[in-house]
Amino acid sequence: MNPESPFGYMGMIKVVLAGGKPEEAMIYLEKAVQRGVSFEEVNIPEFKGLPGFAELMKKHFPDQVKD
């Protein structure tokens, strides 16, 4: 495993969210998305309330995000 893998970042999101750090979670979420995590995996209720989530989704999944 190396920094190119999205798996570790996805796990980190859950860890930092459990620790109550949504801003840090967004950093990891962006890294995971940059490494190929799918729209379906990201577009889940757990993440939807994160600050900046909508912008991130629009940036990386413009075709799938409805205005």
Binding site: E4, S5, P6, G11, V16
Partner: protein
């Protein structure tokens, strides 16, 4: 006219041979005669083109258009032939060399008392050669003039005793012509394709379609005939080379090329680069044996037998064509052959019958090996049961072919080697599951027998390598035999890429895999397969999915007709949960070629994972129609049944799967199904049994750890996953599962540390 590609590299200017006298050549090759009554030949044009290419090379004197006249098929009218010989006489000066090469029909005139021999040009009339074929006595005049008046060195090469029904057949016209040609006219040098009482044989086995004589003549002149390695080929050496190769390869028919003239005369200079290229082109190629054409003799002999025998002979030929070899009893090639061999009037045909029967018996096996070596889709993409059905008769057919040719024939060791090779392949295909080491040792024994007959058989070494993949798993042995394969056949990219995949999936030897893939790209960067392997490496070893995707897109750009890249792309999207893209790629894969059971199973899984069980079921059922014993598919369909309340049907499938396969792998697959169904105790029981069967296989421990985690038994999960990591420290999925287990157990610090560790 079929063009013949020169096998040679570009010619360096400094390599051009300096010569005191000038060389000029007239090269004639006629396969396609104007008058349909003169039977067309198959490869005379290709032979002439190949010889012309030799003359254009440094070894042949680097002749340019001003010194070489090549007349092929319709260009080779009698007038053009005569004009070309006139040009030779006009231009040749003392010390020059004049070469005349003729490949086509020769025959005698039957209407006149002297029965003169003729070379038949493209527009020669079939009934009266004197009014339009080229007489040998004219050729004799030309040669005598060139030798004695022009004082040029003259070399004549003729391949004019080809078979085919001609006007002079009844009196052996081709042979009489050959006899005329064999006479010494002046002090010229002659190379003839066969003795006067023989026919010159041609077939696919020589350069994909050439005359045996021409094929070995050209290779010999490029340097393969340079027996004493003195950098040149003389008449004696080329004569010996032709006898050593042509005569055994046409056996049991007879063709002994002949040479006439001063045996120490230098025929060609050897250029090491060119010779190395010729040798390289031959390296790793499997020996070939094919039927030969003997139409002329056939017509003559069949004219002397009654209609019953003739009909039987044609039934025999048809049985060979239809591949009805050893059964049904009494109505197969074998039965017809035995009856025809007992007929004394067919004696002149017996050798060609024996050869052609043997050739037909081994033809499919040879084609299968050729396809494998050429990475053709035909065999590689056959379903297991289809391949099994195809290969199963080969050992018996190859044994019969060996008997027919006898143990002195040059193909005998090859046929024996292939018999054992296919015996092993059939055994491997019959036993895709429940494999154990005793089967592995049996297979290795069979493949060793194959190698005893043919020590440098690349496919056999690769087959041995596969035994060490999943039957007696051993990375070092697997790699050893794969590397031996590559030494023998360095341009066979399949050997690199298939080995690399085994190293990645089975043994996690990523560095070794990378080296092989890099080598494969060097061998052929235009092949999609190395890029597919590189993608798998990026994904499996590095978790670099975007990089992996780029490599697969490159593979598809290189060859969009191969399903393998789409299949791999589908899998790449599948493991990332990109379900829409995964489905598109898998559908493209089955649209590109026939649907493989594994792809159909993935399509089923995509729907099953999304809870679309009704959509999943047909894919699984289609896969099971193709491969009824596919454990992965059986257990996947079972999960669909479990999830939709058809528990009995599910259990029935599981029972079926376990009946087919009780290996550790099968236990894990079924265990995973129970885990996905939420029956953790059953799953854990099976997974534990798998780890007992294969205690050093990280795969089983990884599944067990994941199952503990899913069932909420986090302590056992963490302990088990740590043990898994001790067996496979760099496994991407285990690292992640361990971090997940920490997180789910509430140990967020350990989870964070584990996730971060995985990112270093």
């Amino acid at each position: 006219m079929k063009p013949v590609a020169s096998p040679l590299p570009a010619l360096p200017a400094e390599a051009l041979r300096a010569s005191a006298g000038k060389t000029r050549a007239v090269v004639i090759g006629i396969s396609d005669y104007q008058d349909p009554q003169i039977p067309d030949l198959r490869f005379a044009d290709a032979d002439a083109n190949a010889f012309a290419n030799f003359l254009r090379s440094p070894a042949g004197g680097s002749l340019d258009g001003d010194h070489l006249k090549v007349l092929i098929d319709s260009q080779a009218t009698v007038a053009q032939f005569d004009a070309a010989l006139g040009w030779l006489m006009d231009e040749s000066k003392p010390g020059d060399q004049a070469i005349i090469y003729f490949s086509g029909h020769g025959d005698v005139e039957t209407k006149t008392r002297n029965q003169h021999g003729f070379l038949l040009c493209w527009d020669s009339p079939p009934q009266s050669y004197i009014s339009g074929a080229y007489p040998i006595f004219f050729l004799k005049d030309v040669v005598t003039t060139l030798s004695t008046e022009n004082k040029a060195r003259v070399l004549i090469i003729t391949d004019a005793c080809r078979s085919g029904k001609l006007a002079g057949n009844s009196i052996g016209g081709a042979q009489l012509t050959s006899q005329n040609l064999a006479q010494q006219f002046a002090n010229e040098i002659k190379i003839l394709s066969c003795q006067p009482d023989e026919y010159s044989l041609e077939g696919e086995q020589w350069g994909g379609g050439r005359g045996a004589f021409s094929f070995h003549l050209v290779d010999g002149l490029y340097g393969l005939a340079d027996g004493n390695s003195d950098g040149s080929v003389n008449l004696m050496e080329i004569g010996r080379h032709l006898e050593d190769h042509v005569t055994p390869e046409v056996s049991p028919q007879s063709q002994v090329p002949m040479t006439v003239g001063n045996r120490t005369e230098k025929m060609a200079a050897v250029f090491p680069d060119i010779l190395a290229q010729v040798k390289k082109n031959k390296a790793g190629q499997p020996p070939i044996f094919s039927a030969t054409d003997s139409r002329g003799i056939e017509d003559e002999v069949l004219a002397t037998v009654d209609s019953t025998i003739r009909a039987l002979y044609y039934r025999f030929k048809n049985a060979l064509k239809e591949k009805v070899f050893l059964e049904p009893p009494g109505e197969c090639a074998e039965a017809y052959y035995l009856r025809l061999m007992a007929e004394p009037k067919l004696e002149r045909l017996h050798n060609s019958m024996r050869r052609n029967y043997a050739a037909a018996l081994q033809d499919d096996a040879q084609q299968a090996i050729n396809d494998l070596m050429a990475m053709e889709k035909t065999d590689v993409n056959l379903y297991r049961l289809e391949r099994l059905k195809k290969y199963a008769p080969y050992p018996r057919l190859l044994e019969r072919a060996s008997e027919l040719l006898g143990n002195q024939h040059y193909m005998y060791p090859v046929l024996q080697a292939r018999k054992y090779y296919f015996e092993g392949k059939v055994l491997q295909l019959e036993s895709p599951i429940n494999v154990d080491s005793s089967l592995g040792h049996r297979l290795l024994n069979i493949y060793h027998k194959s190698l005893q007959w043919l020590p440098n058989a690349a496919p056999t070494y690769l087959a041995m390598s596969t035994v060490y993949d999943n039957i007696i798993p051993n990375a070092d042995s697997m790699l050893f035999y794969a590397k031996r394969t590559i030494e023998i056949a360095p341009s066979w990219t399949r050997a690199y890429t298939s080995t690399a995949r085994r190293l990645i999936y089975k043994f996690m030897k990523h560095q070794d895999a990378k080296e092989l893939i890099d080598q494969a790209i060097q061998v052929d960067s235009t092949s999609p397969y190395p890029w597919i392997s590189l993608s798998i490496l990026e994904s499996e070893a590095n978790g670099n999915f975007s990089g992996a995707e780029q490599y697969l897109l490159k593979a598809i750009a290189l060859d969009s007709t191969q399903s393998t890249a789409y299949d791999a792309l589908g899998y790449l999207y599948f493991i990332q949960n990109k379900t829409v893209k995964a489905k598109q790629a898998f559908l493209k894969a089955i649209e590109t070629s026939k649907p493989l059971p594994s792809i159909l199973t993935f399509l089923g899984a995509l729907h099953s994972n999304a809870g679309q069980f009704a959509e999943a079921e047909p894919y699984y059922k289609m896969a099971l129609e193709i491969e009824p014993k596919d454990v992965n598919c059986l257990r996947s369909l079972a999960l669909v049944y479990f999830k939709t309340g058809r528990v009995e049907e599910g259990h029935h499938l599981i029972k079926q799967a376990m009946g087919y396969d009780s290996s550790a792998w099968a236990l894990l697959m079924v265990g995973e199904t129970y885990m996905d169904a939420g029956w953790y105790d059953k799953a854990i029981d099976l997974m534990k049994r798998a780890t007992v069967l294969k205690p050093n296989d990280f795969f089983g421990w990884g599944f067990l750890g994941q199952c503990y985690s899913r069932s909420g038994r986090y302590e056992e999960a963490i302990r088990t996953l740590l043990h898994t990591l001790s067996l496979a420290p760099h496994d991407l999925y285990t690292q992640n599962d361990l971090a997940d287990a920490y997180r789910l157990s509430g140990d967020l610090d350990a989870a964070r540390e584990a996730y971060l560790r995985s990112l270093i």
